[in-house]
Point group: D3
């Protein structure tokens, strides 16, 4: 009966990327815990960059400063 | 002091349906737990069908396939 | 595909009361939104009274002061 | 590693108010728990007034009745 | 800046399984979204089987009836 | 009507620290948004260090390696 919530900043995540997250997590849960996928729900919540803060600063401001949070 | 979060897919839920969910849950909490309704908060969060997955598939895709999730 | 989270203080909620909450909410969702109950998940999360605050005070302190949050 | 979610009604919260919430909570967590701010994430979620209920009523209806929820 | 919450029933999930979920999801997020893993937080929340309901019934009751939710 | 959830690792947070978090956040919300504190609920959720991961590793393992997440 797992329920998985993914929260991330709203920055042009595509429909296909969302599908990859949903299928990938459902497969992981099935592989590790042997759960029936019909019972696994995955919810993706996109958050405006003004509404997410880390280190005390809005992500919208961090992005303006060139901090991407991406892999180098 | 209950707080209730309802997450469901964004599929034309009307203002009146939302009110029925809010009043119904608040009454249930009051009936079962004798809680003062002034302390019961209900939050409804609607999720785009691209952002909800079950059985590893996006609900938007399931809907295109004719799977409604409705009572038969 | 609804998912419902109920958060309340950990104050001797019985197994039967939990069942009444689960069945009552599932029925409400089915009545109002015509959702197949097989897709409705309800999760109850009990929170220690030291860990819940309202009006800026811990519920454990409010309870010592005789404030019950119950229906009068 | 704290994660803080603030849920409030969508009622013209400004970008600056959001920044004050993010910086204020991050500082509080750092002051009280000595956590490195780089590990503190704050997420603000705004909820439509039709989608929040208290005392069994939608906030949109409470606002029409002149109930503001503001400090007096 | 992703934050991922996994909610599942408390049924003897081992420390190693938890580690596999955490590393697997973090890798998935990094692969699909190119996010720096240092910014990805994964939280696992185990819920007592009395406190999770599906189809209007407590999971503890479903388990007694031999319904496992496992892959066949 | 704000609701605030604080999730942090279960590492000997005292009752007094919890009270400071609750009163501090309630005051911040009142100062920034002029919300009536009677409507502000704060919930603290402590997560076992095996159940929280960052950078793909369990916090329990990070702690064994001497990584504290504390201010330097």
């Amino acid at each position: 009966m797992p329920y998985i919530k993914i929260e991330l900043t709203r920055e042009n995540v595509t429909k296909q990327q969302k599908q990859l997250l949903i299928s990938g997590i459902t497969k992981l849960i099935s592989d590790v815990l042997e759960k029936d996928p019909a019972l696994t729900h995955v919810v993706i919540q996109e958050i405006d960059t003004d509404n997410w803060g880390v280190s005390g600063e809005q992500v919208s401001i961090l992005r303006e400063k060139g901090i991407t949070g991406k892999l180098k």
